[in-house]
Symmetry: C2
Subunit: 187 residues, 2 copies
Amino acid sequence: MSATLVIIDMQKALDDPRYGTRGQHDAEANMARLLTHWRDLGNPVVHVRDNSLDPDSPYAPGKATHEFKPQLAPLQHEPIIDKQTNNAFIGTDLMQVLEEFGSSDLIVCGVHLHQCVESTVRMAGNLGFLVFLPEDCVICVDVLDRKGNRWTADQVHDLTLAILDGDYCKVVSSADLMGSAADGVIH
Amino acid sequence: MSATLVIIDMQKALDDPRYGTRGQHDAEANMARLLTHWRDLGNPVVHVRDNSLDPDSPYAPGKATHEFKPQLAPLQHEPIIDKQTNNAFIGTDLMQVLEEFGSSDLIVCGVHLHQCVESTVRMAGNLGFLVFLPEDCVICVDVLDRKGNRWTADQVHDLTLAILDGDYCKVVSSADLMGSAADGVIH
């Protein structure tokens, strides 16, 4: 059985400055390489797309920014899961799609690590999936806390991964995944 | 309609040193005051309890440390939700209990903020509940990240609340809740 690669919210909208100062500038290139590798192995890929209910959001359907980034656009046979919350399992048929693929293992990547990726990874891990989270294929933005302290995207990245690792998923690198999956199975 | 107070994993086990160095030492006293106030108003209270499947865990049923802390112990009529993952909605009847109470508003508190409380708050917010998170009624421990940096419990507390506030819940203080809920409704 091969892991399903789940790519979350990699739409043009993520570059909108309203979301703050991003980090992890290599993430798109790393994800594109992992996606190509996964397709070459014939392993399943799922694209999650944010359909914001807020007409002013760059993620609102119909806007040009709602489109996937070109280097991570779905192929015609790859399922697109449209969601309206942070969690790709809520109000969607993601679970049904994964059951059809027969996948008990997932690789989850995308944007933002500390929002939609994290909500989905926590849920997936608690539902019993074995989840791999490639640390170089996720993006954070800076966060201003209630005391007025600003946390950089790198700080948010490091603490979020530390909290998730071991309890909800296994944090790895995309190189780890591409190296170990030459036979289509993650060890 | 009155908010349901959901208290997560306030068992003696949380004092086990294996979980790291905790912060927020006033949290138990703050929760006990909020609990008394909520009971006096006649508002619903739910206690979530961790039933670890790991026989070595202090949260394993049968151990003395599996018991609730005495100042936060349930009254006989208050439901206890036994869970085995971080998320109090998964594999439990929490949703059914909340539907019976007719609660669309929740107050969620307990331990650890960045683990079971956060997983439950993210899910509750995405399911459509209006969630209040009293910042002085949650407990974190320090976290060692993958680069070897140690984050204090206060740092984990501050960043976690900043990420959750507005997207999944409204971060408040227990004083806010006790002040505004004199009529049983949170404004």
